[in-house]
């Protein structure tokens, strides 16, 4: 990869991650608030799978920290979950990348569920109640969105 394309993909990575962070605090109507997929983690996982040398565990930790500050959660909560998910994604990137998109989506949903589970534990330790019936909706939506997201991001990646 030449220096020029590298810089291009660098700005693309940064831009998409920023956009994901914006999407994670954009105001939604009350009924949709509980269904917001974890955009930051989804985009992060895409880059973990496709450019594991550039977006690794460290980047995941930083994005998680920013996400913590943005949504006002306990500092380090998202950072921890994102780090773990990114670690698994980077470890398995060669295998996951070969899957067809729908199969990838299922694997990704496992990672999303892992993050949600960690949040549930942390909230439980802190004694904060959550709405348990809607709690796994973001995971499900994230899984459904994955093929689309991967398609769009791959298109962007190819075109730069």
């Amino acid at each position: 990869m030449s220096a020029l394309t590298e810089r291009h993909s660098g700005s693309l990575i940064l831009g998409t991650l920023l956009l994901a962070l914006v999407l994670s605090i954009v105001p939604l109507p009350d009924t949709l608030r509980y269904a917001r997929p974890d955009w930051a983690l989804l985009v992060l996982l895409y880059w973990n799978l496709h450019l594991p040398d550039r977006v690794g565990v460290g980047a995941a930790w930083l994005v998680g920290l920013l996400q913590d500050a943005l949504v006002g959660s306990l500092l380090g909560q998202h950072a921890l979950a994102y780090t773990l998910c990114a670690y698994i994604a980077v470890k398995l990137h060669q295998r996951l990348r070969l899957y067809p998109l729908w199969q990838q989506a299922i694997s990704i949903s496992v990672l999303l569920a892992l993050a949600q589970l960690l949040f549930l534990w942390i909230n439980g330790i802190l004694g904060r109640p959550v709405n348990i019936t809607l709690y796994w909706l973001p995971t499900l939506l994230g899984m459904l969105i994955w093929p689309l997201l991967a398609f769009v991001l791959r298109f962007l990646q190819r075109s730069t």
């Binding site: 962070l21 914006v22 460290g58 920013l66 943005l70 949504v71 959660s73 500092l75 950072a79 780090t83």
Partner: protein, 276 residues
């Protein structure tokens, strides 16, 4: 990887146990302020467009309406001033101290969504304007909540309906004291531990009692709307509806409660503008 995981766990513990991380959080918040500003931008610009594109007629109508409203309010204020002096005179007779007239500052909400499982809002005033943790916020019709986190440019406030929030109140009619707790629904507060025989009815106004020293006394909080007295239970089930427009307000008032001596917070620095 292991280092980062340990770092996150240490961060979480520090953040939860003590508040050593305030400066770190402030630094982060300055970093993410552009993102918040960006998200707030659309609603901000729509407001601006609505104002600048409004027709002359509707502006005139609004002006007329505001003038009438101001006249009415001024008339009420005259009455209030004479009542205030009378009240102070009577209290002096009774030898009890009473302070009226608090400093206030208007803050605007940033329209960003926070954690959906907590009732929190983000304000566009921070420690640069003298906002402090524990400061009460109200809107035009009632108490909204209190400040829980302050950064240089923004402040996070917890609403009174958050499940971990409780506010000391009293029934305006007879002074019956209680605590109103949030139950996680934006429309309801719960009043636990009120005996079945207590004198409280549907429609009773609940105002802040000033106990606990965090909220100034006398601000309206909620109105009792649902009341169940089950003889088999020890306490009545009482639910009240908050008066403040918790999920609709765009502007809120920050109140400086003054140095009443019972507070643990530092007194507000003199930088903020005084009440009109």
């Amino acid at each position: 990887m292991a280092v980062l995981v340990i770092a996150s766990v240490v961060l979480m513990t520090l953040d939860h146990r003590q508040h050593h991380l305030e400066s770190f959080r402030s630094a982060l918040s300055v970093l993410i302020y552009p993102i918040q500003w960006l998200v707030d931008l659309p609603s901000n610009t729509t407001d601006w467009f609505q104002e600048s594109l409004a027709s002359r007629r509707s502006l005139q109508e609004e002006n007329d309406r505001l003038k009438t409203e101001q006249l009415l309010l001024k008339a009420e204020l005259q009455k209030y001033q004479s009542l205030q002096t009378e009240n102070q005179r009577l209290r002096k007779l009774l030898d009890s101290s009473f302070k009226v007239g608090e400093r206030v500052l208007i803050a605007e909400l940033l329209s960003v969504d926070l954690d959906p499982y907590r009732h929190e809002i983000l304000l566009n005033k921070g420690s640069r304007d003298g906002v402090y943790v524990g400061q009460p916020i109200v809107d035009a019709s009632g108490v909204m909540g209190q400040i829980t986190q302050v950064t240089p440019l923004t402040a996070t406030a917890m609403l009174i309906t958050d499940p971990s929030h409780a506010i000391p109140v009293q029934v305006d009619r007879n002074g019956l004291r209680s605590v109103a707790q949030g139950i996680g629904s934006i429309e309801w507060l719960s009043l636990p531990h009120i005996p079945n025989s207590a004198d409280i009815h549907e429609g009773d106004l609940l105002v802040t009692s000033g106990l606990g020293g965090r909220f100034p006394p006398g601000y309206p909080v909620a109105r009792v709307e649902r009341l169940q007295r089950d003889p088999g239970e020890a306490f009545a089930k009482i639910f009240a509806r908050p008066l403040a427009a918790l999920d609709r307000s765009r502007e809120v008032l920050l109140i400086w409660t003054g140095d009443s001596g019972q507070q643990t917070q530092p007194a507000a620095p003199p930088a903020a503008e005084p009440a009109p």
